[in-house]
C-alpha cells in the first residue's frame, strides 16, 4: 500500500549544472539501473500484460493456456457469485473507509490540539505494526461467541450476545471494524502530517482579524484539510478494495457467501478450482474498478488543489 504523491520532485536539483566532467554516464547508468529494471520488467510489467492476456484464456496451470476469447468475461457477467462478491466488497469498503476516515480525522485533530508528543502517535500506530493475520486472530478470540471478552462485556451490560463473525448481517461490519483497528492510527498520522503543513501564519492572521478559534477551525483548518483528506482517501480506498487476509483467516468467505469479497473469490477460483483464466478476468475487473476510482479521486483532488498553493 505504498504511495507517492509527486509534485514534480524532478525539478528540484536535477537540471544539468555545468559539470567539471561533462561526460555521458549512459554505460554506468545502465549498470546501475539493471537490477531494478529487470525487477520492474519481469515482476511488474510482464505480469501485468500476462494477467490481461490470461483473462482471455482457459488456463489450469498444468496445460498451456488456450485462447478462448471473451468466454471468461461472459461468464463473469452471468456469475451471481461475482456480482455478490462485488457488492460485498463495496459494502465493506463503505463501512471500512467511512468509519476509519471519521475516526482518524478526530484522532488527528485531537492529537494536534492536545499533544504532539511522539509517544501518543506511537501508541496510536502500534496496531499497524502487526500483520492483518495477527489482527484477525486476536479479534477472532476477543469476539468469540462463547468465550470472547467482547461478548462477555456485551452480556454484562445486559445486551444479547452477537455472533460477530458467524452471522451474515454482522460479518462484514465486523471484518471492517477489525481492519479499522489496524489502520486507523496510520490514517490518523497521515492526516496529522497534513495538518502540520498548514502555515501558522494563517492562524496568526486570523487572530489579528479577531476571528474566534472555532471560526478559524471552520474557515482555515477544514478547507485546507480537504485536499489532504482526498489524498488519504486515494490511498486507503485502493487498499480497502484489496481486502483478503482478514477474510481468509476469520471466515473464508462465509457464512455462505456473505463475506466472500472479490479478492477472496479470485483466490478461491484460482487456487481452489485452478481456473486461472477466469480468476484473471475478475482481477482485470478489479483493476479497472481501482483505476477508475483512483482517476475520479485524482480529478477531485486536482479540483480542490487551489486551496493552498
Amino acid at each position: 500500500m505504498s504511495t507517492i504523491t509527486t509534485t514534480k520532485p524532478a525539478k528540484t536539483g536535477a537540471e544539468p549544472t555545468p559539470s567539471p566532467r561533462k561526460r555521458d554516464d549512459t554505460r554506468l547508468a545502465l549498470l546501475f539501473i539493471l537490477p531494478a529494471l529487470i525487477g520492474f520488467l519481469v515482476f511488474m510489467v510482464w505480469p501485468t500484460l500476462r494477467g490481461i492476456y490470461l483473462s482471455f484464456t482457459k488456463f489450469n496451470l498444468l496445460t498451456p493456456p488456450e485462447f478462448n476469447g471473451l468466454d471468461n468475461y461472459v461468464r463473469m457477467v452471468q456469475d451471481p457469485v461475482f456480482w455478490n462478491a462485488l457488492k460485498v466488497t463495496l459494502y465493506y469498503v463503505v463501512i471500512n473507509i467511512g468509519l476509519q476516515t471519521v475516526l482518524a480525522l478526530i484522532i488527528a485533530v485531537l492529537m494536534q490540539r492536545l499533544t504532539k508528543k511522539t509517544w501518543l502517535r506511537g501508541i496510536v500506530l502500534t496496531p499497524y505494526l502487526v500483520s492483518n493475520v495477527v489482527a484477525a486472530m486476536v479479534f477472532l478470540w476477543v469476539l468469540d461467541y462463547q468465550l470472547g471478552i467482547g461478548n462477555k462485556i456485551i452480556d454484562a451490560i445486559g445486551l444479547d450476545r452477537i455472533a460477530f463473525l458467524s452471522s451474515d448481517t454482522w460479518v462484514i461490519p465486523t471484518i471492517a471494524l477489525i481492519n479499522v483497528w489496524r489502520h486507523v492510527g496510520y490514517t490518523a498520522l497521515l492526516i496529522f502530517a497534513g495538518l502540520q503543513t498548514i502555515p501558522e501564519t494563517m492562524y496568526e492572521a486570523g487572530r489579528v482579524d479577531g476571528a474566534s478559534e472555532i471560526r478559524m477551525f471552520r474557515s482555515i483548518t477544514v478547507p485546507l484539510l480537504r485536499p489532504i483528506i482526498a489524498l488519504v482517501l486515494i490511498i486507503t480506498v485502493v487498499g480497502s478494495f484489496q481486502v483478503f487476509d482478514t477474510v481468509a483467516i476469520t471466515t473464508r468467505g462465509g457464512p455462505v457467501d456473505s463475506s466472500r469479497v472479490l479478492q477472496y473469490y479470485i483466490y478461491d477460483v484460482a487456487f481452489g478450482r485452478f481456473q486461472f483464466g477466469y480468476a484473471s478476468a475478475m482481477s482485470v475487473a478489479l483493476l479497472i474498478v481501482l483505476v477508475v476510482i483512483t482517476f475520479i479521486q485524482y480529478r477531485l483532488t486536482r479540483a480542490e488543489s487551489s486551496d493552498l498553493s
Binding site: 507517492i4 494477467g51 492529537m111 500506530l125 496496531p127 482485470v284
Partner: protein
C-alpha cells in the same frame, strides 16, 4: 505502507498556537482526553489480551473467560507453539497434537524479510542514484516509465507472478517468496531518488574533481550521507515484508517455506473447531507479532515521523 516524505518533524511552533483551539476551555479538553484515552485503550487492549490468554492454561479459559489476569498461569501455550510438548499433552490441553515448531517459521520469516529488504533497498538505491545524478539519454522517459509502475496495484500482479515463479521452479522456496520484491519497488526507488536529489552537488563535484569515479562517489559519498532515509526505508520494507500474507500463502505449500503469517493461518485451521486451543493460538499470534513490536520500540520515532506526504506543500 508508507508514503513519501520529507521528514514531517513537528515544526517548532511557538507553544501558544499549537492548538487552534479555544484556549483553556477545560470541559472540552477533558472530553478530548477521555476520547484519546479510549483510543489508547482500544489500541493496546488486544495486545494485553493476547498476552493474558497465551499465559493461561487453555482448559481453564472456559471457566475463567472473564478474568482480567491469566487464568491458571502456564507456559503450555508457548510450549505447544514451539513443539516442546508431547502430542498427547497437547491434545489434553485442547491443541491439535500435530508437531509444530514456530522457531522454524520465525527463521523463515527472518530470511525472507532480510533477503527482500537487503535486495530491494540496495538495488533501488543504485537505480535511484542513476535517476537522480547520472547523465544519460532517455533518463526522464525511464523515470516516467517507473513512475507509471506506481499505478499498478501489486495485487494484480500476484496471480501472474505466481505462474512465473512456478515456471521458474521456485514454488515453495524462500527465494520464490522474496524474488518479486527483491530487485525493486517503484516506491523505494522514488523514496531514495527524492532524497538523492536533495544532496548538494558541490560535495559530489569536489570528489569528482579529485579524480574519484562515480561508482566510488556513490558508495563512499552518497550512501554514507543517506543512512537516515535508507534506515527508514529498510525498517518500513522489513515490516511490510514480515507482515505479508497473501503472496507467501500462494507460494508456500510446506514447512520448507512457511513464514509466520502463513504458519499462523495453518495453525488456526488445524486447531479443533469445537473448543479451540485459544492459549496456543494466542501464544503463536504473539510470537508472530512480537518481533515487529520490539522493532517498533527501538525505532518508534523514526517510524512515526516517516508517515506523511511529500506532495502536499
Amino acid at each position: 505502507m508508507a508514503t513519501l516524505t520529507t521528514p514531517v518533524d513537528v515544526p517548532p511552533a511557538s507553544p501558544e498556537k499549537i492548538a487552534p483551539e479555544k484556549p483553556g476551555f477545560p470541559a472540552g479538553r477533558t472530553l478530548a482526553w477521555v476520547f484519546m484515552i479510549l483510543v489508547i485503550v482500544g489500541s493496546l487492549f488486544p495486545f494485553y489480551w493476547m498476552l493474558r490468554t497465551a499465559l493461561s492454561s487453555n482448559n481453564a479459559l472456559y471457566a475463567g473467560s472473564d478474568s482480567l489476569l491469566p487464568v491458571q498461569p502456564s507456559w503450555g501455550g508457548f510450549e505447544r507453539v514451539f513443539g516442546l510438548q508431547t502430542g498427547q499433552a497437547a491434545i489434553d490441553a485442547g491443541g491439535a497434537g500435530q508437531p509444530i515448531s514456530f522457531w522454524h517459521y520465525l527463521i523463515n520469516s527472518v530470511i525472507v524479510s532480510t533477503l527482500t529488504t537487503g535486495g530491494q533497498v540496495f538495488f533501488s538505491a543504485m537505480a535511484a542514484y542513476a535517476f537522480a545524478r547520472l547523465q544519460w539519454k532517455h533518463r526522464e522517459k525511464v523515470v516516467a516509465f517507473f513512475l507509471a509502475g506506481l499505478m499498478i496495484p501489486t495485487i494484480f500482479t500476484l496471480l501472474p507472478n505466481f505462474v512465473l515463479i512456478k515456471q521458474l521452479g521456485l514454488v515453495d522456496t524462500l527465494l520464490g517468496i522474496s524474488l518479486p520484491s527483491m530487485l525493486m519497488t517503484p516506491f523505494a526507488v522514488f523514496f531514495l531518488r527524492q532524497f538523492f536529489l536533495g544532496i548538494s552537488r558541490e560535495v559530489e563535484e569536489a570528489a569528482l574533481v579529485e579524480g574519484a569515479s562515480k561508482v566510488r562517489v556513490f558508495f563512499r559519498l552518497i550512501l554514507p550521507m543517506s543512512t537516515a532515509p535508507i534506515a527508514t526505508l529498510s525498517i518500513l520494507t522489513y515490516i511490510t515484508s514480515w507482515n505479508d500474507y497473501f503472496w507467501p500463502l500462494m507460494v508456500s505449500y510446506t514447512d520448507r517455506s512457511r513464514v509466520l503469517t502463513v504458519a499462523l493461518g495453518v495453525f488456526k485451521s488445524q486447531t479443533p473447531s469445537t473448543g479451540p486451543d485459544w492459549s496456543g493460538l494466542m501464544a503463536a499470534t504473539l510470537v508472530a507479532a512480537l518481533p515487529m513490536l520490539i522493532l517498533f520500540c527501538f525505532f518508534a520515532r523514526r517510524i512515526v515521523n516517516s508517515i506523511g506526504f511529500s506532495g502536499i506543500k
